[in-house]
Amino acid sequence: MPKTLAEKVYDAHVVRSAAGEPDLLYIDLHLVHEVTSPQAFDGLRAAGRPVRHPELTMATEDHNVPTLDILKPIADPVSRAQVEALRRNAAEFGIRLAPMGDRDQGIVHVIGPQLGLTQPGMTIVCGDSHTSTHGAFGALAFGIGTSEVEHVLATQTLPQYRPKQMAVTVDGELPEGVSAKDVILAVIAQIGTNGAAGHVIEYRGSAIEALSMEARMTICNMSIEAGARAGLIAPDQTTFDFLQGRPHAPQGADWDAAVEYWKTLRTDEGAVFDTEVVLDAASLTPFVTWGTNPGQGLPIAESVPDPAAIADGDERRAAEQALAYMGLTPGTPLREIEVDTVFLGSCTNGRIEDLRVAAELLRGKKIDANTRMLVVPGSVGVKTQAEAEGLDQVFTEAGAEWRGAGCSMCLGMNPDQLEPGERSASTSNRNFQGRQGKGGRTHLVSPSVAAATALTGKLTAPADLDRSELAGV
């Protein structure tokens, strides 16, 4: 029977299957960070259980870490205690940890691919909903809660129910200035924040195949914002080229064996998807959100919607609540919305390619005098690479702040937060109320929109910048 890519990966990991019970699925890689793991380690200790496979587990410090003074102890005692708990747990249970200051430290979803630990056909979990990022390599990767973190630590398996299959097909060529972030924001706006509940999404089509690995990660990363369990993309030469030579990628004969297997990881002709969504790449434009969930987004040329015009009562109420929180008036052109802060970073858009795109727009120019811009590389590896390319100079000369690696203002667990009422254009993944700081107002954007917005102080598409500005004259 023809199978989808996700079904192939799922079936290859079934340890045990019995009628009326969830399948037991083997987990190839377990990524761990400080926020969702301490109670899981406590559970192991209480039951006297070891970690079954420390070598299939990798820990890093990302959510709480400051992006300034990273070699000093963390000032916030509660954050510091949590990071110290991870250090104790990693040492006690024999798990590799990339702590602050380490060359491998960074956002958990940035370092997995960077180290070559993320590979096609694997099952990957983490106590973090953006684990779907790793699906860009054709892995089945999903976020779990702390009870499940403990379960994986103890058994290297998880009870799972077979997910439904959704295809999101994007054919055609993306217009200039339109990126992976715009694609995924458009998908979420179309199907809604829980529209893919119960499903794994496979992104396919010529526009997806043309994307770099970084861009594919951006798309898979936000699968959870459409409610999907996971999102993935079939591995191809782009995937293999990205992986070859990375520290933990197979080598020699192992590489050949792996690639031979990886090439089988494609949806079979005739495989059936439960749900299909189609987008025309050529019709897409830069997308920004206006509301308080990632599905409340529109092309940047549009205006703030009028809730009164929304027929569905539930959606209308949600739009009214969102606009009240966001301090926006229906009918205001999105391009006239002034922002205070621009955040470039996160597991969605904190990779080297994202920084390059933004730096190109900022090169030789100054950001708006009333706007602050934070640039937070996704990992120490990304930071080092960017500095080797001189991107840090471009950002600082433009007036942006160049910071250390971490989750930072995506969720404000460290000191990088919005003030009440402050408005941001953010390359992160969630515009939920208070996400970036109490009372903060978030507009989700792509890296190029973020950079263009920093230059003008208002939500701006790169194409809106006039030629002289682009030339730096």
Partner: protein, 201 residues
């Protein structure tokens, strides 16, 4: 995990859709390393900023059944959202649609999530608003919600129901299949990556 058989209490009508887990408990409360005491973070922004918020009203202060709009629990995988609801006195959440991870986390911690059609949610909202003292019984054994003269059946898979009724620990259940796990491990390709030892870039 505390077993769940049947629960009777009053209901809080939360007329909001797509309530994400950042609203249930914001990130700043996630820095703790304990597994209890999260009630102070439960819906804290709405409790602080909106005097009329349902949980600020004395008539709903003791509610133990939360009746929410569709797509409850979207966003972050934080199980702290489930712990905060339990610590805040809730044993059941009713909605027409839940986000997958939240629903999954609930079953691990003993919070019952009940899916009812939206018209039934609306009816329960109306009943709890007309009389906040309305007693709502959620019977997992019989798979039904009862209040006043109304009884509404709900669906839940047999396996999850059994685990909740017995209060069973998943890890213990999985450890019964250790031989299957060992057999699977013997079949894994040798080239799959290991995080140890750390290798140079």
């Amino acid at each position: 995990m505390q077993p769940f058989t049947t629960h009777t209490g009053t209901a809080a009508p939360l007329r909001r859709s797509a309530v994400d887990t950042d609203q249930i408990i914001p990130a700043e409360y996630l820095k703790r390393i304990t597994r209890s005491g999260f009630e102070d973070g439960l819906f804290v922004a709405w409790r602080t900023n909106e005097p009329d918020f349902v949980l600020n009203r004395s008539e709903y202060a003791d509610a133990s059944v939360l009746v929410a709009g569709p797509d409850f629990g979207t966003g972050s995988s934080r199980e702290h959202a489930v712990w905060a609801l339990l610590d805040g006195g809730f044993r059941v959440v009713i909605s027409s649609r839940f986000a997958d991870i939240f629903k999954n986390n609930s079953t691990k911690a003993g919070l019952l999530t009940v899916v009812l059609p939206q018209p039934e949610v609306e009816a329960l909202w109306a009943a709890a608003e007309a009389d906040p003292a309305t007693q709502v019984t959620v019977n997992l054994q019989l798979r039904q919600v009862t209040y006043g003269d109304t009884t509404v059946p709900f669906e839940i898979d047999d396996y999850t129901r059994w685990r909740l009724l017995e209060g069973l620990d998943d890890i213990g259940l999985t450890e019964r299949h250790l031989t299957d796990i060992e057999d699977y491990e013997a079949r894994r390709p040798a080239w799959l990556p290991e995080a140890l030892p750390a290798l140079p870039a």
